[in-house]
Amino acid sequence: MTAATAGRRRLAGAGAVVRRRLLVAVPVLAATSMGMFALGAASPIDPAQQYAGAAAFTTSEENLAQLRANWGVDDPLPVQYARWIGNLLRGDLGWSTSRHEPVTSVLAARAGWTLLLVGAALALVLVASVLLGTLAAYRRGGWFDRALRAAAYAVQSMPVFWIGLAAIAVFALALGWLPAGGLTDITATGTDPADVARHLVLPVTVLAVSQAPWFVLFVRDAVAESLRDDHVLAARARGLPGRTVLFGHALRTALLPFLTLVGTHLPELVGGAVLVETVFSLPGLGAVTVAAALGADFPLLAATTLATTVVVLAANLATDLAYAAADPRVRLDD
């Protein structure tokens, strides 16, 4: 039996699992969106006053009431929710009162940048934490292990915001290697990929560094643990080379729970991205989400919340599938 056919057999139940998860996802998403609207109804924030900003001083109550009537935000909660769901089913995510444009436009303009930031940071975290954690475990108690752990604890205690400002101070101001913020050079006329990439080096690295400690410490402990497992000890006893034992046996065993960690840690990564976007003035979803919450802009808030929920659900599903593919003991068709 080749490895490929074994993998296919392990994923035999995948279709059913995906269907079952989709069935669960619908009520979860419905509950999330209802919760959003219920919280919104409990909030004392007046979207019209938020919209007016400083003009609230010179805007009459009558004028504000007209705005609320135009938006229908004074309608009873079930009416607002029904309208929102109805529009959603027709592919219309509604009107963002805080941005003054359709919610779909807000998402289209910004979601890509947030995904790029989070995706690149996640990839960097995974590769770096597996490499560094495994090396530290292999030389457990050595200077590299101790230094890495000390660094992980130190980074863990630093706010993302602070790491970002420090990175700007060092790499943009003192050394002048990288731009201090923005998506492109400030006078650039388009979004040239190389330009964008150069501008994303610092934010992606800062986000990755801020999220890395969990992953690094986890990999290090898990690999160290599995180095003492029977099958790893047996492999070593058989005289297999150290690298084969480390990456082929110990790391493979350790990686399974690591997948779960990635799945559950994703929301935190998204949270970190909000702050990183602020520090590096990136036009992602972070700042608009905060503005939507402060401005009682429920269509936009509901859309970003739902998008995040979908990403987390999808990540959990992907984790489970990957788990099944990697571990012969896990069966999907249970």
Binding site: Q49, F57, T58, E62, H100, S105, A111, A180, V196, A197
Partner: protein, 531 residues
């Protein structure tokens, strides 16, 4: 409209990112691809629309649009789209504007009176989400008897009406068959102004190109990029990294650029005041002696040097010293006057209690002072007032809250307020201090009522004679100083850092609001930059 760009960019950029990460040590942050001479300015705020009808660039200086009138460096009205300043009829209720000839919108279509009529009618349309409607509530109708003439008919005489004509004019044609609230125009506007919009990346920047066919002459630079950087520290860092030619910074961060080669710090006087609103209905704040004592006890000079880092001046009323309507006689001592404060309290029967807090009829001289918790400046003012009040035996309890928690309590608890406009005293004061607006939301939240002030405010609004208006506003300011419904603390200075290589910067007195428009760059079309 879903743009396919991000997905493709994602793939390329991730690949590029990994490549660049290893070999970027030679790169620097300079070297853009835009035109030399393009100016880059950084602001904290970002407009949510670029349509003047929906509140963008109100009071002129929108860069993209022109109004019938504009303001010069001294904030005096000058003709813009109107050939000369509009004329007002003898009864003050008909205002006629003659349009300048040959003005073109950015798309090449000519400006006509219909566009002006459309602009004002749209603001008045209840279906349009405009917060400007209450500013034009004196306007009965607007009509275009011929393509070059616009006639405004007012419900009642309104002396500062010409000031309202700085509103940017939009082309009627762009809105045919469209919902103004949702029109694509709001993001891709077409105006007559010195700059046209090249692109707007929300959350990032607004790119403007010079309008070479502008009626006032072509701008002296090829374009302007407005970068939106919400965080103050980040803006300062990026200014230091050389990315911006000019940036708005809070006073303390701006001070870091003082005396630093290559930069110049501009401290611009404003009509933007901070003050403590004292509700007339409160058992302690409603007492005249308490209000007068507080007014004497606060150390405005210390607040200017301490809280504002020198970037401000003492305030004694809502009309800024730079205004022709200011009454210098109402200005008091910048430093604290505890002797007067304690004498006032003693005379009114507020006697020091065992803990130092004054008491009268079993009631402590104590009240709560609210401030918006996220506004660190107002918090510092609240703490300064608390400390000054304590020295004369008045106990102030500062409380940081959200606006939603503050709003329902404005009738009973004191509040650190901020607002102000240099253009006309009627704009803010008529509603903030008029009896008719007592307790109406942010209009007169403390329910101040004075027949003298009401009469003066009405006279200032009705009369076209500048001398009569000056007298009326002097009466109003004196009455306010006597009744002390607010303790005015300071006017702020707005601080900006500009590179040395930029010439043509002409600061003028600024209002409370200052973002893309009404900032130091109100005349950016006259700025030039050495390469």
């Amino acid at each position: 409209m879903v743009r396919p760009l991000p997905a493709r960019v994602t793939a390329t950029a991730v690949a590029a990112l990994l490549a660049v990460a290893g070999c970027s040590s030679g790169a620097t942050s300079s070297g853009g691809t835009g035109d030399a001479g393009t100016l880059v300015v950084a602001t904290a705020g970002e407009p949510d629309t670029l349509n003047p009808v929906l509140n963008y660039g109100v009071d002129g200086a929108s860069l993209i649009f022109d109004g019938l009138v504009a303001r010069d460096a001294g904030n005096r009205l000058v003709p813009a789209l109107a050939r000369e300043l509009p004329t007002v009829s003898a009864d003050g209720r008909t205002v006629t504007a003659r349009l300048r000839e040959g003005v073109l919108f950015h798309d090449g279509t000519p400006l006509t009176a219909e566009d002006v009529v459309f602009t004002y009618r749209t603001v008045l349309d209840p279906k349009v989400d405009s917060t400007l409607r209450s500013d034009l509530d004196m306007l009965a109708s607007v009509a275009a008897p011929d393509p070059a003439t616009v006639v405004f008919t007012l419900k009642h005489p309104y002396a500062p009406f010409l000031q309202r004509l700085a509103l940017g004019v939009v082309p009627a044609k762009a809105f045919v068959g469209q919902d103004v609230n949702k029109a694509g125009f709001n993001r891709k506007p077409v105006g007559t102004g010195p700059y046209r919009v090249t692109s707007w990346t929300p959350g990032d920047r607004l790119v403007l190109a010079a309008n070479d066919k502008h009626w006032g002459g072509r701008p002296k630079n090829p374009g302007v990029v407005v970068a939106f950087v919400a965080d103050d520290n980040v803006r300062a860092q990026r200014m230091r990294a050389g990315e911006f030619d000019a940036a708005e910074l809070p006073p303390r961060l701006a001070t870091g650029f003082d005396g630093q080669g290559g930069y110049r710090v501009h401290r611009v006087p404003t009509a933007d005041y901070r003050g403590v609103m004292l509700p007339m209905g409160g058992p302690v704040t409603g007492d005249l002696a308490i209000r007068r004592a507080l007014n004497a006890a606060v150390d405005r000079q210390a607040m200017v040097t301490g809280v504002l880092g020198g970037a401000g001046e003492p305030a004694f009323g809502p009309v800024p010293p730079s205004s022709e309507f200011a009454a210098p006689s109402t200005a008091g001592r910048p430093a604290a006057d505890p002797a007067t404060a304690t004498a006032t309290l003693d005379a009114a029967g507020w006697r020091p209690g065992p803990d130092g807090i004054r008491v009268r009829d079993g009631r402590q001289a104590a009240f709560t002072l609210m401030y918006p918790a996220t506004d660190s400046l107002r918090k510092e003012f609240a703490l300064a007032v608390t400390a000054d009040a304590k020295k004369v035996g008045v106990k102030v309890t500062p409380e940081g809250l959200t606006w939603d928690a503050i709003t329902p309590r404005m009738g009973t608890d004191a509040l650190v307020m901020g607002y102000g406009t240099p253009y006309d005293p009627d704009f803010v004061s008529y509603k903030l201090f008029g009896s008719a607006f007592a307790g109406q939301g942010f209009f007169n939240p403390g329910s101040y009522r004075s027949a003298v002030a009401d009469r003066a405010l009405q006279q200032g609004r009705d009369s076209a004679d500048p001398a009569v208006r000056r007298a009326a506003y002097a009466t109003f300011q004196q009455q306010l100083a006597a009744d002390v419904p607010w303790v005015f603390l300071t006017y702020l200075q707005h601080t900006y850092v500009v590179k040395d290589t930029v010439t043509g910067v002409t600061p003028r007195v600024e209002p409370h609001e200052h973002d893309v428009a009404n900032s130091l760059w109100w005349n950016v079309h006259a700025w030039t930059k050495q390469p």
